[in-house]
């Protein structure tokens, strides 16, 4: 299964794309096929051929959408996500942008505090404006059928609303994505047990 990379946040948060801006002359002249080729080659040298590049011309800069197979953990993607910008070559910088969204976007991270008959209540942390939290009451009909089994107290999800531009068309979207992560590995579990045993030896309780 192929998924888009979310350019602004967690990989599996939403089906968004990552953009590349060519620098420094990103407002110059016409779109140049040669540029694409150079950029593609330099990306592939440094990252992986699993990434597919699709040039998109926008008014102020040259963008490239990247799609990648996200089924397996990917150290290269992890590296990209750990940086605000990723140096692809001396000439190109991979920026973390809002992908296909405009700047008018609002994101929350939520966790379910109460499950209702036809929905759920969640505490929401505002990822866009920070500051105070909110309480949201959601209807089960607004959750995708794949995500519904994940609705239980404590489950973590992301909610994004914004204005989406695709092929020049603007549409409003509200996306709720529940986190899906792999199970704990035995190594991770053992490490936690070792940490606990170590602390237990060092800390006394009166």
């Amino acid at each position: 299964m192929e998924k888009h990379i979310d350019s602004t946040d967690q990989l599996n948060e939403m089906g968004d794309t990552m953009s590349i801006i060519s620098e420094p002359d990103n407002t110059q002249s016409d779109y140049n096929e040669h540029h694409t080729k150079v950029l593609k080659n330099s990306l592939e040298e440094q990252v992986d051929t699993r990434f597919k590049l699709k040039p998109v011309l926008q008014s102020s800069s040259k963008h490239f959408e990247i799609t990648a197979n996200l089924l397996d953990p990917d150290p290269v993607l992890d590296k990209i996500y750990s940086l605000d910008s990723f140096q692809v070559s001396g000439k190109y910088v991979l920026n973390r942008l809002h992908g296909n969204y405009t700047q008018k976007i609002q994101k929350w991270k939520g966790h379910i505090t109460e499950v209702l008959k036809e929905g759920f209540v969640a505490k929401l942390e505002d990822l866009t404006n920070q500051g105070t939290d909110e309480i949201g009451e959601f209807d089960i009909d607004d959750i995708s059928t794949q995500d519904r089994p994940l609705i239980s107290v404590g489950s973590v999800f992301y909610w994004t609303v914004g204005y989406f531009i695709k092929n020049g068309q603007i549409s409003k979207q509200s996306l709720i994505r529940f986190q899906r992560l792999k199970e704990w590995s035995m190594q991770e579990y053992d490490k936690a047990i070792d940490t606990a045993e170590d602390l237990s030896k060092k800390i006394n309780w009166d």
Binding site: T132, D133, G162, S174, Y189, K202
Partner: protein, 369 residues
Amino acid sequence: MSIENKPSADEIEISLIGTGGGYGESIVIKMANDDWIIVDSCINPITKVPLPLEYIENLGVDVSKRVKLIICTHWHDDHIQGISEIFKKCSQANFCMAKVTDKNKFLQFVALDSSKIDEASNSSTKEFSKCLKVLEMRKKNIISAFPDRTIYNENFDGTNFKIFTLSPSDLAIQKFDLEISDLITEFGTKNKKVIPQSPNLKSVVLLLEVGNHSMLLGADLEVSTDPKLGWKAILNESQVTGNKSSLFKVSHHGSKNGFHQRIFDELLDQEVACKLTPWNKRNKLPEIQMLQAYHNKSNVLLMTSPVVSSSKPKRTRDRKIEKYIKSLNVKLSEIKFDKGIVRSRIKYGLKNAKWRHELFDSAFEVKIP
């Protein structure tokens, strides 16, 4: 009087800091010889600064030397946020929390939960985990809280200053061990926030005795149907509650579950001053009939901020986005940050001295005709 004014040497202080309900509560206490004690922690959600630390520092107190004890009454996010930062800064302080029988199991739980991804971990275990690291570094012991235990005992200027923990009861401690076992079995996935079921019954209630003055701080302890749990266990079994308290921090935001007539009859003075913080999330506390009940039973009832009915989302957003959110099938309401401080001071050397209360920010006196 200005909020920066320090108490005089012959005064003790008990200040309740509230945030409007959603971001926690804390109590700051001044005891003997400029010793300070912090009970629980809460933060300003905008600056992330722990409010008790900010309050004491604004008084000009050197927290690294004068804060002697940090008490974590229970394991709820609204009582623990920022406590590790306080503990780091208060380098002379001891750390007190409810007794845990199976320490290894508890530490395993904390290690597992705090190693989860940030989004899913319980912030209370993250805070605990950081406090444990400080304890390890300082080679200090954890002071366990259990019924009738003395956790602070000083004699200054001919006056005894004592703090007792009255809870959690033995049964509550046993139940906590079992709950930890259940929580550990929930570690199948990394993306789920573990939510403890009933930490309120494991809350640490504190009794302060200074000379002939007594004060009772009720944390979030509730009344259980089981006489071996909650307030009934204290009322039936405590051996240290001889003096009636003239000041009471009302339990669990003045909820019905935190109220028992016997608390007023047996533990509190007829002229008691009560103070409380509200709870302003989806459910609102205290309810009006409970506010009336506490008002009737106290000489003065003080709250850190009003109970508000916020049904509106935040106003800091782009107008278009706000309009769009309104059109969606989601009910959104802001958890307001409404800081308030109820400060109470008394000259402990005077037998008939009365509490002097001061209200800051959103704090107010409840007056019901």
